[in-house]
């Protein structure tokens, strides 16, 4: 909680008419026009859009284990620079976050760093090995209060194990976030299976390997009456299955990454591993379907799948390179380009998909709240008129593997507040 008081002058909440917001004692205490407080610091937010602080359901902070690629400190700093006030830290660390001890460690590192809230994701299975359930209850009851469980990086491909996990987390209102990838259909897979994989001679990752698992899992979730979240949906076919599941009223949610909203498999023709990611970049038709699904709510949330990798793990031939790309510091800009500037979402829609709904999915009560008196003062101020050229070496993340290097993107985060305390001000880390 901050002891400083801020008056944010002239921001446009969710893109609406300009208003002033007073932030004191960690909360928004007043929204209106012509507001002031004696002794308050004034933030001139003319022309800026105010959104609730962004919530990422899918972040790889790499600590413990790969501190050469990212740490909780650097990853959460990157998150704040991207406008996030909360991130969910994926479990595929080393050691794996499959015990109360590891999730509490990550949670504490997040508190010490202070750039944004860190909600550790617990592994579904011991060691992400897909054989035995991890101690989900112990993680839920730990100081980290884990509610999202995922073997992300690996699919919980065993149908019985997936069923048990879906059932078990009901005891504490948890959700299983599935990395949908049928492993036998994707052995050594390198890129989207299609016209280009055949020409480039790279082993294909067929969309059906994702769609088949999503189809199975929505049926399982309905059967046992549990809650399923689908990570990084990448194909038009997946969207159709989710639309059908939602039409049945089943408790299924889904996320899409910024890169799957903007980039296509054509980029693999460069053989530059910066474009190697899992699930792979797919076709322009898939991109169009994903945008439409995010706009109509079939896909609930944008989640970054921020995946830092050391230079060594990307500066090599395609097949040898690691999967994954950075996302936190460019997510909002990519969503602006793909969704706002195309007229598919307004800023209220962006707030819904990047803050309100992800907070609801992750059961994060103090995030994704309306910008009104009484809400915690978690917010981001973004300049939608700014344009910036992405320089990998100017990023806050410890890694450099952004697929947008040299690309001009719209929008810039000017300030981020976490419970009334600025974590980013004037576009710089506080």
């Amino acid at each position: 909680m901050s002891t400083r008081t801020f008056v944010v002058k002239g921001a446009r909440p969710l893109g609406a008419d300009p208003a002033d917001l007073v932030l004191e004692d960690g909360a928004i205490t007043e929204v209106g026009t012509g507001l002031s407080r004696s002794g308050a610091e004034v933030v001139d937010a003319g022309g800026l859009v105010a959104l609730p602080g962004l919530v990422d359901l899918h972040t790889h902070l790499r600590e413990p284990g790969r501190e050469d690629a990212e740490t909780v400190q650097t990853g959460t700093a990157a998150a704040a620079m991207g406008g996030f006030s909360a991130v969910h830290a994926m479990a595929n660390t080393d050691p794996v976050a499959d015990t109360a001890g590891v999730v509490e460690q990550v949670w504490r590192l997040g508190r010490e760093a202070g750039h944004c809230d860190v909600h550790p994701v617990g592994a579904v299975t011991v060691g992400l090995a897909g054989r035995a359930l991890a101690e989900l209850g112990a993680m839920a009851e730990s100081a980290a209060r884990v509610r999202v469980f995922s073997d992300d990086g690996n699919c919980v491909s065993d149908a019985v194990l997936m069923r048990r996990a879906l059932e078990y987390v009901k005891a504490f209102g948890g959700v299983v976030a599935q990395h949908a990838q049928e492993p036998r259909l994707t052995v050594d897979a390198q890129m989207n299976e299609g016209e280009l994989s055949g020409v480039l001679g790279l082993a294909g990752w067929p969309a059906v390997a994702e769609e088949a698992v999503i189809a199975r899992d929505v049926l399982l979730a309905a059967h046992v009456g549990s809650r399923l979240h689908v990570c990084h949906v990448s194909s038009a076919g997946s969207v159709e299955i989710l639309r059908w599941a939602k039409s049945k009223g089943w408790n299924v949610t889904a996320e899409v990454t910024p890169h799957h909203l903007l980039l296509t498999d054509e980029l693999a023709t460069s053989y530059d591993p910066v474009f190697k990611v899992n699930p792979p970049l797919r076709t322009a038709e898939d991109v169009a379907a994903l945008r439409e699904a995010l706009a109509d709510g079939t896909i609930d949330a944008v989640a970054t799948d921020h995946a830092p990798h050391s230079h060594e793990d990307k500066d090599c031939e395609w097949a040898a390179a690691a999967f994954g790309m950075l996302g936190l510091e460019t997510a909002l800009s990519v969503v602006q380009e793909a969704m706002v500037e195309t007229g598919l979402l307004d800023w209220a829609g962006v707030a819904d998909r990047m803050s309100v709904r992800p907070a609801r999915i992750g059961l994060v009560e103090d995030q994704g709240r309306p910008l009104q008196a009484g809400s915690p003062a978690n917010l981001v101020l973004v300049d939608p008129a700014a344009r910036r050229r992405i320089d990998p070496f100017a990023l806050t993340s410890r890694s450099r593997n952004t697929p947008y290097a040299g690309r001009e993107l719209p929008g810039a985060v000017v300030a981020t507040f976490l419970r009334g305390r600025p974590t980013v001000l004037d576009g710089k880390l506080v």
């Binding site: 994989s197 020409v199 001679g201 790279l202 082993a203 460069s270 090599c316 031939e317 395609w318 040898a320």
Partner: protein, 319 residues
Amino acid sequence: MNRHLLSAADLSRDDAVLVLDTAEELARLADRPIKKLPTLRGRTVVNLFFEDSTRTRISFEAAAKRLSADVINFSAKGSSVSKGESLKDTALTLEAMGADAVVVRHSASGAPHRLATSGWIRGSVVNAGDGTHEHPTQALLDAFTMRRRLTGGEGDLAGKRVTIVGDVLHSRVARSNVLLLHTLGAEVTLVAPPTLLPVGVDTWPCATSYDLDGELDKSDVVMMLRVQRERMNLDGGGFFPSAREYSRRYGLDGRRMGLLPEHAIVMHPGPMNRGMEISAEVADSPRSTIVEQVTNGVSVRMAVLYLLLSGSDGIGEDA
């Protein structure tokens, strides 16, 4: 001017014909008592092989030596995909040694492309086979062989019907051949069991068929691809049920050879699995160009090195 040969698609029709014509001139050298030209004296050609391929390496080595280049053979076995960083380190080493051309064979598709575009080296890169992607000099020597047998060693291959049979899915030879033969005007048909044709093959500039017998009587060339026996023992049931069934449906034996037109030739990039995709009777028949292909490989690779390294008459677009 082009600096690299990474894909058969880098070559226009005129580029390809120039390579073949140049190879034809250089082939005459082989009939002389002294088989050497001074053209590349003082230039260094590195054969960088991350994958075993004695045949291809020796062919490039002979080609470079006949042009008087200094040849360094760099076998980086064991430095494959699992230790990818070594591609870069090896490249930096070669750059420091002043390689004018790097002939690279690698198990990872796109590795030569990475070498050529990553800024690690300045020399020309020649793809000598990358993963399941391409093998452009093999396609050139195949086209050279077809031209000698079918068009008197001149021009392109307009209207010639070429049937390529076997494991297209994993074959860099098939990919490069489809691209180059299409460029040269030939009509290509790929024949394979459906499990060994890649997704998207319907967009390639060729036809496809599952029925070998139906293609033979209209073929000027039948090219048999090597089929690895391991392919049937993989998890998931393999790509075909048994070697026996594969041979019955897609192997070229004496009976099938009898269905070919009188003038048709039989090709194979080697190494062969006798009794699997090709019977000994066919491999050793006068229609077979298999040994000739090896000889022609040297002339074609001389032409490629000559055109890439000897100045302004480059081939293809700058990659």
